[in-house]
Amino acid sequence: MADELNFLEEKTDDFVKVTLSGEVDIYTSQELKENLYRVVETNKKDLIIDCKELNYIDSTGLGIFVGALKKAKQYEKKITITNLKDNIKKLFIITGLDKIFEVE
């Protein structure tokens, strides 16, 4: 399915890594929001979001990333976003989110 979103969570002692694959749009964004907020609030650790298999995101998904970052900062934790595809990295630059998140 083109508009499917997969969410894989891996825990270590120091951080939690979430691997996203598929597409984040208005249809799949609620699923992302519930999962991402749960990971931040239950683990209270630094979070790495691996986007190597994420093909599409728009402002609905970016807003959820920002919401998750706000929650992480409440616990003095950080969110690092890795392996952004060029089309998504462009959105981060346009919106200035590349300066708010640690992007690798």
């Binding site: 508009d3 599409y56 728009d58 402002s59 462009k90 919106t95």
Partner: protein, 129 residues
């Protein structure tokens, strides 16, 4: 052919699950014009931003909205229409600023809130195909 405009019309219900159909149509039409992958991704995001807003506000009058993809030479123009006259200026709240910023950044021309349509935006193929 120069001077000829082909119109492809898509009528979608105000439902989130069909926004991807608007993107899929944009991919096919953009590819037909000769846009590269980066430009097609730009168009897909811009189209979704408008669809997202329309789906989120919905309509009590109409079940659906219309997207017209107009192909004219190396230009793709995307126009949003709805039979509900109350749906005209959809991007007017402060919370819409991010979506409007993204649309303006990704498309070459954007026309908001006119008597004729909800929104119209276009992108032109830059290189010689």
């Amino acid at each position: 052919m120069e001077g000829v405009t082909d119109n492809i019309q898509l009528i979608l219900p105000f439902k989130a699950e069909y926004v991807s159909v608007a993107r899929l149509a944009a991919s096919g039409i953009g590819s037909r014009i000769g846009f590269d992958i980066e430009a097609i991704e730009d168009i897909k995001v811009a189209i979704s931003e408008v669809c997202n807003k329309l789906v989120s506000i919905g309509s009590s009058v109409s079940d659906c909205y219309k997207i017209v993809y107009s192909v004219s030479g190396k230009c793709l123009k995307v126009t949003y229409l709805c039979d509900d006259p109350s749906i005209k200026c959809v991007f007017r709240n402060e919370s819409d600023a991010l979506a409007v910023h993204i649309i303006n950044a990704l498309m070459d021309e954007v026309e908001l809130c006119t008597d004729k349509h909800i929104l119209s935006m276009s992108k032109v193929l830059e290189r010689d195909a």
